[in-house]
Each structure stands twice: as structure tokens, then as C-alpha cells.
């Protein structure tokens, strides 16, 4: 594994009975980059991601995440990654403050660290008025930002985002991508799945999955040149239609 690769997958495969959800995928993700993991619904994006974050066991293949093997050291991987699911899962019946404290706590942060982080978050996101509100009463955009920040509480080396912009409006999406850029600039690698092709343009490199296989992997610019089209959307359509 090269030093600047934080994720390295080789022939990673996941089968459910006769169905092959992920079919021998091989790719690397470099430190500090925004890696877009694209594909239609059901192409196997989420399954592939679940194998990398240790909640799904691969049928065959190899992979290393944050320098640890997914078969032998899944616990070390968990300490070094953050994860935000497509449901922006936070506890609706807990306040913003309680959510931050809880998630900081399960990552083993000390009381002082949690307090420091919380104050920092309150300031950056402008949460002052709502810090004692129940999360359930917040608009979706707020939940999304909060879920993202909570996933970053323990300063992970890599953050995995599973369709992080589903169901939010274009302005909030734009703001969210600004947060992603900021995170990547601070050295955290961002691994993001999406099916919005316009978002693919924001990524440093993208891979496109079709029916469990990675059909294309490069920078958005090179992919557009390769397929002789002007947008990622067209790249995707060309690939998906074969």
C-alpha cells in the first residue's frame, strides 16, 4: 500500500446467494481527496461502502482502510473513520447538545474534548439558539449539517458519506458541499456516494458503478474527455446504457 493511499480495495466482492451485488471492484483513494462513488440505485454503491466501514463482510477480495485490513483489524478502522448515512441518523428525541455529547462519548472523547468541540460547532454552524432544542424539531438541512459535524467529532482520517444530499434543497446542497470542501482541505479524506451527477463535478475523482462493477474511474475532466461529452450526466448515461 502506497503511503498516500488511505483506501485500497482489490477484487472486493459481495454476493447475496446467487446475486452478486459487488463484482470484484478494485480502486484506491488518495489521502485528502474527495472521492465520488457514483452509480444508479441498486448498482452496489452502498454495499461496497458497507464493506469498507466494517458492517458487511466481503465474500472475497482484499481491502485496507486507513492502513488497516478490513478482515483482521476492523476495530482499528472504526476508530479512524466517520460515517453519515442517508438518513442523517441522529436521535430526534435528544437535543442538539445531547446528541453531540452522546456521539462524542461513544467515540471515547473526554468531557473536556466534547465541551470544546461542542462550543466550536455551536459557533461555526450558528447553533446557539437551537442547542437545547430537540433534533426532531429541526429542518432537514440543519439535521444534515449536524449529522455531518457529529460524524467528524472524533477527527477521523476518512469520512464516508452515503448519499448525503438526498431530499434537501439545492441551496442547502451547495452549502453542504462547501462543508465537504472545507473538511477535505483540512486533510480528511472524503468518500461520498451520490446519484446526483452534478455533484460528481465537485469531486476530485469519481468512480462509476454499473451492475456491481466499476465501469469508469478518473477525474471528472478526464472522464468527460474520454467519453467526448460535456457533463458528467452524459458520461453516466453513456455508461449506463452501455
Amino acid at each position: 500500500m502506497k503511503d498516500n493511499n488511505v483506501i485500497q480495495a482489490k477484487n472486493l466482492t459481495k454476493k447475496f446467494g446467487d446475486f452478486t451485488a459487488v463484482n470484484s471492484i478494485t480502486f484506491e483513494v488518495k489521502k485528502g481527496e474527495i472521492f465520488g462513488f457514483l452509480g444508479a440505485n441498486g448498482a452496489g454503491k452502498t454495499t461496497a461502502m458497507k464493506m469498507l466501514i466494517g458492517i458487511s463482510i466481503p465474500t472475497s477480495g482484499k481491502a485496507q482502510v486507513a492502513g488497516f485490513d478490513i478482515f483482521t483489524n476492523p476495530e482499528d478502522i472504526k476508530k479512524n473513520i466517520g460515517y453519515m448515512s442517508q438518513k442523517f441518523a441522529l436521535y430526534d428525541d435528544l437535543t442538539v447538545k445531547e446528541n453531540i455529547t452522546f456521539f462524542g462519548g461513544i467515540y471515547g472523547l473526554s468531557k473536556e474534548q466534547i465541551k470544546k468541540k461542542r462550543n466550536q460547532l455551536v459557533e461555526e454552524l450558528g447553533l446557539k439558539e437551537i442547542v437545547n432544542e430537540l433534533v426532531g424539531s429541526l429542518p432537514l438541512g440543519w439535521k444534515q449539517k449536524l449529522a455531518f459535524s457529529v460524524a467528524l467529532l472524533h477527527n477521523p482520517k476518512i469520512i464516508f458519506l452515503d448519499e448525503p444530499t438526498g431530499g434537501v434543497d439545492p441551496i442547502t446542497r451547495r452549502q453542504f458541499w462547501e462543508m465537504i470542501y472545507k473538511t477535505a482541505n483540512s486533510g480528511t479524506t472524503v468518500f461520498v456516494t451520490t446519484h446526483y451527477m452534478d455533484e460528481a463535478e465537485y469531486c476530485d475523482r469519481v468512480s462509476i458503478m454499473v451492475d456491481g462493477k466499476i465501469e469508469a474511474l478518473d477525474t471528472p475532466k478526464k472522464l468527460k474527455e474520454q467519453f467526448k461529452v460535456t457533463s458528467m450526466n452524459d458520461v453516466f448515461l453513456k455508461l449506463a446504457r452501455g
Binding site: I53, G54, I55, S56, I57, E75, K78, K79, I81, Y83, S85, Q86, K87, F88, A89, L90, Y91, D92, D93, L94, E98, T101, F102, F103, G105, I106, Y107, G108
Partner: protein
């Protein structure tokens, strides 16, 4: 450990901020025990009866007085002809009729026997049976009193005594059952719902991606319910002791230990249910249909196991509640110790271990 405490704190927030779960946790036990204790009863009290006295002599009058002075019966009407009986039954005014034959006293003295007919409304067979038994025992007592002066060469006098529940209070039978139902409900249903809730919300995924081990997540979810179930068990025992005067003859400590075993048993069932259901609704339905119904119908709580068809008896034996109820009745009413109920305890422990192992296995499979 610190992570763990944070987890449990969060779990209590969930419980105390949800009115529905609070009601199930604390309202239900009290409501159920009161309902079963006061409203639902197998005893008969002030049952309305009618009397057709064709003889109208001193003896029949004495017997009628005996009957009307007992708290079991109220004489609703004295009727004069058999034709009225059917109408009265159909209207539901009375539950039984006593018919004294003509020349009751005379027959008794001259022929040494006289007869009374007891007709009961058996649309409710249990009540009919009880009425008939109670009437018989009143008659028997009267007979004994009359016969005192006369020497009878041979006589068998049955003297029955109702051990452990001399007054045949139904509440003594309901308390162990209700306690079992409530512990099952709180432990199994509430945990399975709270675990599936995390699955539904997607927070379970987040927890599994965190450095918390899967078993820590599950134990963290379960521990608060162990606490609450124990509190519930204590509340039920206190209510039954102080309000229904139910005795606890045996050791309270043993009662506690057995209850904790049963609670853990129910919790592992709850975990098991949560592994096979994707939504809270499913978890609730499976808990209600798969756990509550068998507990109510097949555990011997209401219907005696011995009189069930063989296949149901077999099923009854694999229900943990069956064994817990036997243990509860043993400790509370009979005052027995482990020396007597070790076998039931062993079965309960074995079942608990089995369900724990099974739910851990199932839970792991879910992860892959």
C-alpha cells in the same frame, strides 16, 4: 465504561421522553393488577336466584333463610309455578332456581328423604358449577346440624380444606399471572421495539460503525429495561401485599432472584424478536401474538394445563412463563424454597441461556 454510562443515559432519555412507553412501563402494571384484582373474579357474590317452594313448611323456610343469609346468593323472587322458570332464565334475571318438592318436611320425617332440585343457567358453565357447589355445601351443613342429635351407624363426613388460599381468592391466582405478563411485556416487547426503532431510524448503523462493540450496543439497550422491570416487579409485589393482602410465604430474596432470571429470559426473547423484525410495528405484533397470547392462554395462568389437549400441553411446557408462574405460586403461596422448585428454576435458566445464545448468533448474522 464511561461510554457505556453515556449510552444508558441516552436510553433513559428515550424512555422518559416518550409518553407512550412511559404509560406502558408504569401505567400498565398498576392498571392491570387493579383490573385483575378487583374487577375480574371467579368467585360468586350476590348471585340472583329464584325459589319455587311447593311445600312451604318449617324446614324449607329454614333452608331458605340459610341461603338468603349467605353472601353468595340474593333471592330475587319467590315463584309459584314451573312455567315461570324458563322466562326468568331467558330474561337473564336469575342464574339459578331451587325447587322444593311438595311435602318436603313430611317426606323428610316419614321417608327419611326429601329432594331439592337445583336448576342453573349454564350458559356460563363455571358460574353454574360454582352455584351448584355452593348450594350443596349449604344444604350439607344444614343436614349435619339437623342430624346432630341422631345416631347414624355409618357416616362418611368429608372435610375439605383449601390449602394456601383458604378463601379461594381469585386475586391469588391472578397476581402471579399478571406479574408474568407485565414482565414479559416490559422486557420483551419494549426492548424489541426500542432496538428496531434504532434500526428504522438508521442510528443502529451509526452505532455499529462506531468503536462500540455490537454486544455493548445490545447490552446498553437492555440494561435500562432490566432496571425498570425490577422496579415493576417490586411495585406489583407491594400492591398485591398491601392492597390484596396476598401473602409472600417464601423468601423475598429467592423471589427476586427468580424474577431477575425471568426478566433476562424475556429480554433475550426481545433481542431475538428485534433481529427478525425490520420495523417497530412488526416487533410489536410478534411480541403480542408470539409472546403475550401464549402467556395468557397456555401458561396455566387462567386455564389449567392438565386439562389441555396433549399438543397444547407440550407447547405449554416450552413457554418460559409456565415455569415462572409455578415458581411464583410456590414461593408466594406455598412458601417453598429452592429445594422444591430447583427443577423449574433449572428449566428457566436453561431456556434463558438458550435464548441468549440464539439471539447473539442471530444478531451476528444480521451484521453480515
Amino acid at each position: 465504561m464511561k461510554r457505556f454510562i453515556g449510552f444508558i443515559k441516552k436510553e433513559f432519555y428515550h424512555i422518559f421522553r416518550d409518553r407512550r412507553s412511559l404509560f406502558i412501563l408504569f401505567g400498565m402494571p398498576v392498571a392491570q393488577i387493579m383490573l385483575f384484582g378487583f374487577a375480574i373474579t371467579n368467585e360468586i357474590n350476590n348471585v340472583d336466584i329464584a325459589i319455587l317452594d311447593k311445600s312451604k313448611d318449617i324446614t324449607t323456610q329454614e333452608i331458605i333463610n340459610k341461603i338468603s343469609s349467605s353472601t353468595y346468593f340474593t333471592i330475587e323472587q319467590l315463584i309459584t309455578s314451573e312455567a315461570e322458570i324458563e322466562t326468568m332464565f331467558k330474561k337473564g334475571k336469575i342464574k339459578a332456581v331451587l325447587i322444593f318438592e311438595k311435602d318436603f318436611s313430611k317426606n323428610l320425617i316419614k321417608k327419611n328423604n326429601a329432594s331439592i332440585q337445583i336448576i342453573t343457567d349454564a350458559t356460563d358453565p363455571n358460574t353454574a358449577n360454582t352455584i351448584s357447589n355452593y348450594t350443596n355445601s349449604i344444604l350439607q351443613k344444614y343436614q349435619q346440624k339437623v342430624n346432630k342429635s341422631i345416631e347414624i351407624p355409618y357416616q362418611i363426613v368429608p372435610q375439605s380444606r383449601m390449602m394456601y388460599n383458604p378463601e379461594l381468592k381469585s386475586v391469588f391466582m391472578f397476581v402471579p399471572g399478571v406479574m408474568t405478563i407485565i414482565l414479559m411485556l416490559v422486557s420483551a416487547m419494549m426492548t424489541s421495539i426500542s432496538i428496531t426503532k434504532e434500526k428504522e431510524l438508521g442510528t443502529m448503523e451509526i452505532l455499529l460503525v462506531s468503536p462500540l462493540e455490537p454486544f455493548q450496543v445490545i447490552i446498553g439497550k437492555v440494561v435500562p429495561y432490566i432496571f425498570l422491570s425490577i422496579i415493576n416487579a417490586i411495585v406489583i409485589v407491594l400492591l398485591s401485599i398491601f392492597i390484596f393482602k396476598m401473602p409472600v410465604q417464601g423468601s423475598l430474596f429467592l423471589l427476586g432472584v427468580e424474577s431477575v432470571i425471568f426478566i433476562i429470559n424475556a429480554l433475550s426473547l426481545g433481542i431475538l424478536i428485534s433481529t427478525i423484525s425490520a420495523t417497530q410495528q412488526t416487533a410489536m405484533m410478534i411480541s403480542l401474538m408470539g409472546l403475550m397470547l401464549p402467556v395468557i392462554l397456555l401458561s396455566g395462568f387462567i386455564f389449567p394445563i392438565n386439562s389441555m389437549p396433549e399438543i397444547l400441553q407440550v407447547i405449554s411446557n416450552v413457554i418460559p412463563a409456565t415455569w415462572y408462574i409455578i415458581i411464583l405460586k410456590g414461593i408466594m403461596l406455598k412458601g417453598v424454597g429452592l429445594a422444591v422448585i430447583w427443577k423449574e428454576t433449572l428449566v428457566l435458566v436453561a431456556m434463558t441461556v438458550f435464548f441468549i445464545v440464539l439471539s447473539i448468533k442471530k444478531y451476528k448474522i444480521r451484521l453480515e
